[in-house]
Chain length 419, copies 2
């Protein structure tokens, strides 16, 4: 099927998705989970083919691990669909209700977006997560996964589509793009009138490509150049524990820190605790400004002098930049200049300065004395997270069901006209 | 000043705008209104130059009228700023407050967007409206008005900027682009990292250009191909009154109807009432399908057979398309195919079918037995309207202060790390 045909079909299906009752949508999620378990073999076979092809192509181990499905992971995906089903209905919520001066009764109610397109990379579970969230929110979805997981994605989408339809959702409510052609992505980005919302998920390259070329509405996700700033007076043990957690627990995720900023007045003391702790927890590269370089070298920790680019890099690895700053103004300026408006943290015992940081730093999530690693839909209690937005329009930070809904004004009159 | 320099300055100013207290922002609005009245001469002189140049260039009268400022219009603009001041503060609203399992206290609070760019056409009052709304919402703004009103816009922006700064807002909080070069618009559209939200206001050409070329987040506004559908059984007198109001009261606005759809089963009776009424109220062109053509010709009303393009046109004039449909399915399909998701109306006494229309038509505002002309921020009680969104992301329908705000998650801990 051509991409245009897929989008046309999804658009048509979206009318039926929007009017599907809560009962039908929740029943569909039950059936989707059931079908995924029952037809696990079919999905696992497709995944094995993907794995074989990926191994042959010399794909590195961490990527192979992301690609891999097994019984346990399938079970995880299926039960996530059931968790989704059990969340409250996001549709039909009356957000406003007023009688206009003319006597017309007005309501603002939540409605689906229409057609949601997802463009994403390696992990095939995203296919099921996205399809499930779209069924819950009454949206038709068009899924365009990475080529590595192509067969797995198609198999999952087919199983879920058929189960959803059998439960009463309209035909074509879940469609996967059945080509690995890169032009398919670009066609989706430009499909004005057919795609109501585009969500890219993946590396910085994919997201930048989507944001720069999309003419359809898009939510920018995920790139996280996050900072921890240690400001005097600070509990150095706390600052150290937070740095180790935020850098080393999962270095490959977007809410990990990439740069440590330290107030010059406590730099020596703070870095004497933090740098060795990071080193012991696996950090191998330290990109440092001159003052931090000197301290590192005194501590016997290998450091290289940081370049301008290093402050802007999202390492996603056991690498960190370290800079000493002359107090909070310089720290806030640094964060607002190099940060990606994701998650930013200050560690200090000075409440007034902490509040300034929370207020003046422009980011989705700002922390005082807690790890940036908490930026996560599950942690925030939002339910099934579809991504973490780094833009300010519509959704910011972790976003879930609510962000896949729009609203409409419904007005009921008795013949009123405007005077 | 180059556009890039303007944007850089606005970005810098946005930090100060975001932390300006409610007292300072409201005081600024008072001073802006005062300055506009006191320096009305300066603005009127600039407007006279714009008017002279526009007349010389052979600008048509309706456009000249939009461009014109006088004492009364200045007073209207000034008092709108005072109305804005009196609205509740949209910033710092606590939208969520929870304690995470880890004990971290989380709040979601409303914050400014940052830098809001407006690209707009003829009417110079938009300059003041946009500047005022941005001051109220703590945003820095970059204003790029049409070349016809160039001198008026610059004068207004300067007066307002100086008054806002004197009241405590940061330098460069209100900046107008001081060139009529079209490339300036394109530079704004591409200014990722400097522009947090772009709002185009004007004709379909301008909006399409912005939406297609912007890489910054944008709210699409205003194009309205709106419909009235008369469904059996209907109160024909009501249907007629609504048609006349929705088509003829102000044909040049986006919430006017452009196409009349009539159920075949009452076409003869309904059109015998509606077509002459529209004709008497000034409608000169009727683009009709074959059945409506026949009825129009029997009534002695001049009609031309409608082309496919005519169904999609926003006439913005005393022109209307008329089509007979085989019931509600065809009506809904027509509206969803040709409409621009703005305002759509059904006139009927059949409640069940009316509810189907309200539910299945995909538009910002859907009406049962009331005129589409009510789609307006003032009518909806939203306060100062900045535009009418025809997209589903972030803001839909008339939008005002709330849409110029984002939110951030603020988390306060005591050293928590993620397990």
């Amino acid at each position: 099927m051509s991409v245009n045909e897929i989008l046309q079909r999804a658009k048509k299906a979206s009318v039926g998705c929007a009017v599907a009752s809560e009962r039908v949508r929740d029943h569909a999620l039950t059936e989707m989970a059931y079908a995924l378990r029952e037809q696990a073999d079919l999905v696992l076979q497709a995944n094995e083919q993907d794995m074989d092809a990926a191994r042959e192509a010399g794909t590195p181990d961490p990527l192979l691990d992301r690609l891999l499905l097994d019984e346990e992971r399938i079970e995880g995906i299926a039960s996530a669909l059931e968790d989704l089903r059990d969340l409250p209905d996001p549709l039909g919520v009356v957000q406003m209700a007023e009688t206009l001066d003319s006597g017309v009764a007005m309501q603002r109610i939540s409605v689906p977006m229409g057609v949601v397109a997802m463009v994403y990379e390696a992990r095939p579970n995203v296919t099921a997560d996205a399809a499930g969230i779209c069924v819950k929110t009454g949206n038709a979805c068009v899924l365009r996964g990475g080529s590595l997981a192509h067969r797995s994605n198609l198999a999952i989408a087919q199983v879920l589509h058929d189960a959803a339809c059998a439960a009463g959702m309209p035909k074509d409510c879940i469609l996967a793009v059945d080509t690995t052609d890169r032009a398919a992505t670009d066609e989706i980005l430009k499909a004005r009138g057919l795609v109501d919302l585009l969500i890219p998920r993946g590396g910085a390259g994919l997201i930048q490509h989507c944001v720069e070329h999309a003419t359809v509405p898009v939510i920018e996700t995920g790139v996280g150049n996050c900072h921890e700033y240690v400001h005097a007076p600070a509990d150095i043990a706390m600052a150290t524990e937070i740095a180790v957690n935020a850098k080393c627990q999962r270095p490959g995720v977007c809410n990990a820190i990439e740069t440590l900023l330290v107030d010059e007045s406590l730099a020596e003391e703070a870095l004497a605790s933090i740098l060795p702790a990071l080193h012991e927890n696996g950090v191998v590269y330290f990109h440092t400004d001159p003052m931090a370089s000197k301290i590192a070298s005194d501590l016997g920790i290998p450091a290289v002098v940081s370049t301008e680019e290093d402050w802007a890099r999202e390492y996603l690895d056991l690498e960190i930049a370290v800079r000493c700053v002359k107090g909070i103004d310089e720290a806030i300026a640094h964060v607002n200049k190099y940060g990606t408006m994701h998650s930013e943290c200050i560690v200090t015992e000075n409440e007034a300065d902490a509040e300034r940081f929370l207020s003046e730093v422009d980011a989705a999530a700002v922390y005082w004395n807690a790890s940036t690693r908490f930026t996560d839909g599950g942690q925030f209690g939002l339910g099934a997270e579809i991504g973490i937005s780094t833009q300010k329009l519509h959704a910011r930070g972790p976003f879930a069901l609510e962000a896949l809904c729009s609203y409409k004004y419904v007005l009921r009159g008795t013949g009123q006209v405007r005077g």
